[in-house]
């Protein structure tokens, strides 16, 4: 019998992609200058301490994010009863491929003399970019081949890097936790791909394997809990000092508020008023997304709690009512419910960021206003700082008022959703082209199509033998 997994054409293509990446790394990258040995002795001493105080100070934050990307997302997606090998394995494969590609694509915007200088900063950026792809993967979980996921990842990262540059460097949106550029982008990109791959009308239903087992729900909690724990690091990795500490505090409180709310609402809206693991595994995290764009602002601890509570409400209601409606009406499947965990909370975060920006002023933020909202600096104050982009490139220019910055925050989320949806539709079109192998219906949400899986029979037999032996 010709089994579906038997084609190696896709994997050969993947090998070619890896080789191309190596060639690009060879010609277009090098260690950042501060990581190269210095000949001059006096310079060296200063240099080492700079490096110490610089990038390496971020290493614990990096490792926390690294746990989220490679353990958090991986285990969260193991909730399906027969898709755990794919969830944990393909998460590792996809992330390993796209971090390389993200270093290249994001590096295009910070090249020096045609060379991308590589430091710990690039690894942090690459890990964060990978999150966007893994969010999209969550929407499609169990509905694509591994090769489709990889093609999606490559296309998505290219568009992600452009959008990130657009929003942060040209629109100058404030988005330290990446709610706009990562969560909204990843969610709507994935949903657009899902729309393109939508099943025929009679198949738009929850599949027989599209559910959890008792043990897969426990392993998914590994993912949830590690994401929950390290989310403050994700949101605070790119800021420093008091900004960083506020980002940590606000994210912590928002997550706590979202968690309590998730349990309350889950019990209220669920069947027989019992708690639903889907909500607990996902909506508890919505507080981290919803506070992302505003976590370093002066939102006050009680503001952080309120944001978390609202995120929890939106997310649980989304799982309970919106996702089934979208599936039955638009035939857009969203296996992990990324719209409820990442999409809507991220839009909420952007709206909050617009509101808080509107009220931001030098009176409240003092000198840090220019760090938090770079485009609110006066143009003449910028002349001195040579590392700024030329003024003419920034859309809308510098010296913005609070209200204007607020409008640009809304523009950032709007543009991001537009680009993500357009990019996702295009990507989906490519993924369903006849030259790309599609998943057949009986392969949905099932490891066995692409993985050697242990025969359960033999386990049972051994257990039985065992019992007899004793």
């Amino acid at each position: 019998m010709h089994t579906p997994g038997s084609s190696t054409a896709g994997y050969t293509l993947l090998l070619i992609v890896q080789v191309v990446f190596i060639i690009v790394f060879g010609f277009c990258t090098d260690y950042a200058k501060e990581l190269l040995p210095v000949k001059n002795e006096t310079a060296n001493a200063h240099h080492a301490s700079e490096s110490e105080g610089g990038n390496l100070r971020k290493y614990p934050h990096f490792q926390d994010i690294h746990v989220m990307i490679f353990a958090g997302f991986a285990f969260l997606m193991t909730f399906l009863k027969r898709y755990g090998f794919s969830a944990s394995g393909l998460n590792l494969l996809v992330a390993s491929l796209v971090v390389q590609w993200a270093i290249i694509m994001r590096g295009c915007y910070e090249m020096e003399d045609g060379i991308i200088p590589i430091s710990l900063q690039n690894l942090i950026g690459a890990d964060i970019a990978a999150a966007a792809v893994l969010i999209s993967m969550g929407a499609l979980l169990g509905r694509t081949t591994p090769i489709q996921l990889l093609i999606m990842g490559i296309l998505e990262i290219a568009i992600f890097a452009g959008n990130e540059y657009l929003q942060l460097e040209l629109v100058k949106a404030a988005d330290v936790g990446g709610s706009i550029t990562v969560h909204a982008f990843g969610a709507y990109f994935g949903l657009a791909v899902s729309f393109m791959l939508r099943p025929s009308k009679d198949q738009a239903k929850v599949g027989p394997l599209e559910g959890s087992s008792y043990s897969s729900d426990i392993s998914a909690m590994i993912g949830t809990i590690f994401l929950w724990i390290f989310w403050p690091s994700f949101n605070s990795a790119l800021v420093d000092g008091a900004d960083q500490e506020r980002a940590i505090i606000n994210t912590y409180l928002s997550l706590a508020g979202a968690t309590v709310t998730t349990f309350v609402l889950s019990a209220i809206v669920s069947h027989e008023h019992k708690l639903d693991m889907v909500h607990v595994q996902n909506s508890t995290l919505a507080g981290g997304v919803a506070v992302g764009s505003i976590c370093n602002l002066l939102i006050h601890p009680f503001g952080a709690l309120i944001v978390g509570v609202i995120a929890g409400i939106i997310s649980v209601l989304g799982y309970r009512f919106l996702t089934p409606a979208i599936l039955s009406n638009l035939r857009i499947a969203d296996t992990c419910g990324v719209h409820n965990l990442h999409g809507m909370p991220a839009v909420l975060s952007a709206i909050f960021s617009a509101i808080y920006a509107s009220f931001a002023s030098v009176e409240t933020y003092g000198r840090s206003l220019g760090t938090i909202f770079p485009a609110m600096q006066k143009p003449n104050a910028l002349n001195a700082t040579s590392e700024m982009e030329p003024l003419e490139y920034v859309i809308g220019g510098y010296g913005r008022s609070g209200a204007k910055q607020g409008a640009f925050q809304l523009m950032a989320i709007g543009l991001t959703m537009l680009i993500a949806i357009a990019g996702g539709l295009l990507t989906g079109l490519i993924l369903k082209s006849p030259s790309v192998r599609q998943l057949e219906e009986h392969e949905l949400h099932k490891d066995d199509a692409f993985w050697e899986t242990p025969s359960e029979e033999s386990t049972n037999t051994s257990t039985t033998n065992e019992s007899t032996n004793q």
Copy 2:
């Protein structure tokens, strides 16, 4: 059929509590001063670097503790075969609620102008406070409703914060690892609650679901191992410099000694001399508790090992002989055996701390004596340091001799146990009041009463289908 989980009254109450917390946060908290933007430019530069060297330096320690509270305790409690959703889920819920409450309650003792200043320090303190509640939860695991747990958590934190202030600020006990204020408090509080909720005589037995399955024992090991790994961070988070490094070393060695001893003793005392997972999951950690109050003292590496060995012995013997005796004689159930992991080792730690304090002197500890045992400072040396409490408030006063400090260490553990037991009895009385829904016998140690659980039948069917498909 009217199912037990169907009442939403408890969850509505929980929502009200969350709203009240938000209001209290709104009126009584703000970011700590160093986290607010500074207008003055020169001040700002100094300020940022201070913050960097100050609280944020503790961030990796905080994250280690965060893993212990939210992943360690959660997975350790998944050892029951059908209570994994509750263990991992309710751990998250209870901790998320009580950390908010702990910030408020602990903050009452450090208010400035009626406002609690919030920084990373408060989050560390809140996480540590949550540990006490989760320890109590361990004693009751599977014997309460979620709402009973939350009521307990709220009452416990209020009493915890008062006791912590009493022991650390008024009695001036040395307890860097929290063995007295956290472990002993949490364990005896939980046991007192368990006593109040004790079953009728014929039901005081190990229930049919009060055991592990092969896979639940493995997931519990996730908890054990992460607690084991990060315990040095828990014990050393509140000290600095050489004190911190000694706390790390001593905790590491004590855990290693306790682990080896646990395996030896488990094999010796267990049925057929086989190793018992209950001992491995819990008694290996007793070394971390037993060294808690003394981990920063000059106990010498071999002292740390001895403490660990004694803790391992006490803990395994407790599991093997004491817990069953307490259950059958006093009808106090202790599902996770917190008396053996937290209670007795913490009392041991307090006794050791009294002994070591008795021999402490300025000759051995030099200038750090005043940091380690604040009340052993001479009163006249205190005049200079304005941030000290007024002398008259400290019970027993300053300028204590070593022997006197030792006596106060014993007073601290004695008072803590008294307060914990009294508080636990009172809390238990409230939890068993007729207006609070009690667990029925068939709901013990079972997720299904409060959680939607996947039907195992459908899994089996799918697996069968799957096999047929291939």
Copy 3:
């Protein structure tokens, strides 16, 4: 019936070993000088900040390695369907015992006045030494009694410490990630022990329990993923500044390259071109080993990727073809395939280190040449630095050319393999002596011989009762 686990002689021996360790700690160790209180006030201030900037700066790195040793190795080894208690439990026991012993054995080479000064550095070194023993344990997994493992660990650490001192201090090999001294040593030591314990001819086959179950494969992925995440910390823990940051970047890229390659090759060489979990769980990590000895060198980002790709290829081919051939021809069992994950990639790393050393010069490395390759310093430059060993002790002397250093790198791996194999054969001889209890054939790869395991029958019954109750 006389059950196999019923002898406590071995565990009593273990207790004696623990007591001996305590006595040795009592007489031969103390806290390092900088951890002892200082009497002089002005010295103290300087002292604290030194300690802060010194060892404690490594604490996050230490904790990452701690996770690898105690969680990573533990869960990776749970892949066997009925050996999860032993994998996670014995990993904890063996590591807890050998870290104590490693502090003593490694300390022998850095004694001051007959006392081993203990600081965080010793704990890092002990954790890394434990890795070697756990690698050997991987080769033997399921084929020894717990006591045999512990005897092996004690013998192995003694030889490990001597070899480490020989390669790093006398041969002056560059090996920051421990590929030579840890991975190659641990793998070939374990394989040599396995050779000595080889079964009779008719038993040299894969046993009935020597496979995974669906859930054991998922829990093994916990180990894989945490090892993968924290490998950059393992490789960079012992270097500083720019060297450390390069070690992080190169390890990250090498792991990414190895991961992509592993998936590609796994699909190509496996049955029906399906992905094999054994490859995904192990070969993805080979990139971390293969880059170990060169991760701080100027290997360029694309060099790191190439190393990872080659490591992935070697490792997957080793699992697919070499391990079965070694088992059937030499009867050397290698349960976890440590030869493919640690052995061959480590040899590869050593060869690469020889090549890179050959081209190293002061022109490329500047002043850091002497830090990276200490023996390439000119003898006269050493006179000033008093902390260096006397010149005459270093094998081959100082002032080496690049080519000479390259030859010494090869000498280091050659000597290490020789010592590991000889030590392993000797250890194996002791382990199979008549006075040591051997595992019987029906006890292979099975927890039940040494652990109390939950009866699966009762679980099923409870589940059924449960369903009926509802």
